[in-house]
């Protein structure tokens, strides 16, 4: 049984911190003890592995949330710690408020806000059209990850079994676990939202350092994998469009699999399945309404 001192000495030896006499004594002990030798090898190996560990970037969604909270907390924190109004953001605002010409600036800002709100309302209320385009660029990171997961070439670690869950359960889990949202027009989803869609599994994964949620389900017996990620964290997310949902269709060679990818509301989505056509029935997960499904079913590629 090795002692704390033994472990300390082994590490010092590996890091070249032992003096010559101690190093010689350790060398003799290493020759005599297999246990010590084994542990020496393990420490060296573990140290080499730890050197490969990289700082994991804070996921974009989380960073934004923290940034907002911190920014909101900043004036109060400053007011408490500074004691002078001039040192705080509040103080800065007060100084701004006393300057001449401010009224015009406020009016301009108010007008901008009105225009922004009106535009936002317009974009929210209008029914977005869908433009389905054949992929031109090489497969994106998220598409490759979707393929890898869907075909079982990589089994993600902890997986949540959703076989007996509802879509709203899955939505809550996704939001809580990864800070991502799964938008749906299905209101108050019942346990089995529809007969032809069955949830299977969900898993939080990481694709090139970007937090990603993988949701597996079946549509009419065909397995589907949906990957959701923060678009800002992906280098090659499809460009979102203000005027329509810009969906990229990519047929895979040989195995009948196809992907549909789009960016919307700051998130990128990739669906992969072997469903017929462009695989658009995979979208049924979030669209229960018959007329919407009819539109999805009749989607055509635009060029």
């Amino acid at each position: 049984m090795l002692t704390d001192r033994d472990y300390q000495e082994l590490l010092e030896a590996i890091e070249g911190e032992l003096d010559e006499a101690s190093a010689r004594r350790l060398e003799m002990r290493l020759q005599a003890s297999e246990e010590l030798r084994l542990e020496y090898d393990r420490i060296r190996s573990g140290r080499s592995l730890m050197e490969r560990l990289e700082v994991s970037p804070m996921p974009g969604e989380r960073a934004q949330r923290v940034r907002n909270h911190v920014r909101a907390g900043l004036p109060a924190a400053q007011a408490r710690s500074s004691g002078t109004a001039s040192a705080s953001m509040i103080g800065q605002h007060q100084r701004l408020a006393s300057s001449s010409g401010l009224a015009a600036a406020w009016l301009a800002a108010a007008a901008l806000i009105v225009v922004a709100v009106a535009t936002g309302l317009f974009l929210q209320l209008r029914q977005p059209s869908v433009q389905l385009r054949l992929a031109q660029d090489p497969a994106s990171m998220l598409e490759r990850a979707a393929y890898t997961i869907h075909t079982g070439k990589h089994s993600p670690g902890p997986v949540v079994n959703l076989a007996s869950a509802s879509l709203s359960d899955a939505q809550q889990w996704i939001s809580r676990t990864a800070g991502l949202e799964l938008e749906t027009d299905i209101p108050a989803t019942p346990k089995n939202c529809c007969q032809d869609v069955s949830l299977r599994q969900a898993c939080k994964t990481s694709v090139e350092g970007c937090t990603t949620m993988a949701l597996r389900y079946e549509v009419a017996g065909h397995p589907v994998t949906l990957l959701i990620a923060d678009a800002a964290r992906l280098k090659d997310a499809p460009e979102p469009s203000l005027w329509h949902k810009n969906v990229v269709y990519r047929p895979a060679e040989g195995d009948g699999l196809k992907t549909l990818s789009w960016t919307d509301g700051g998130q990128t989505y990739t669906l992969i399945s072997d469903l017929p056509g462009y695989g658009q029935q995979a979208c049924y997960l979030c669209h229960l309404d018959e007329s919407t499904r009819h539109k999805i079913e009749n989607l055509e590629l635009s060029f």
């Binding site: 472990y7 590490l11 560990l53 400053q78 990850a145 393929y147 939080k204 990481s206």
Partner: protein, 190 residues
Amino acid sequence: MQRGKQKSIEEILQRCREGDPEGFRELFERYRDQVWSVAFHLSRNADLAEDLTQQVFLKLFDKVKLFRGQSQFSTWLYRVVVNAFLDHKRRRRPDYQLEDAVVAPALQREPAQERRLARQELSSEVRRGLLQLSEKLRTPLVLRYLAGLSYQEIAQAMDLSPGTVASRISRGHAKLAQVLSHLRDAGLED
């Protein structure tokens, strides 16, 4: 830490002391990933790590005037992270669950991309192994390799002797090698 970089951090800190919000913004952007990463590896939970990161920066903005430069700023900062984590443990909120899984794509890679992905995959494997270690062994490893602290600085942050820190790091290495023995067998560690 490099001397030039340290000087620049000093400038940011000076702006923070003067209450300049831009200084605080720069401080957040510069250290957020490191603070998050350390918080995540200590807590093993993304939600908790997010809370801790937020707490740390709010606390930092309030206390930055107390930092007098006797130690490296990063040492002081990571001590704040460790203390926030220990405070949380004392309060122990049960609503956080362990979770993390890492997957890497494997199709149509360019050679340079292949190398980068291989590096990231190995880092992810090490992360997965590290997260399996006990807190006692994991914390000094996180502070050593992610926060870049010396044994002396870790000892200060954890209220331990440098000898105990070295022994725990050594044991942590050995345990990690055991947990990730499949990498060793596949020759992936070198």
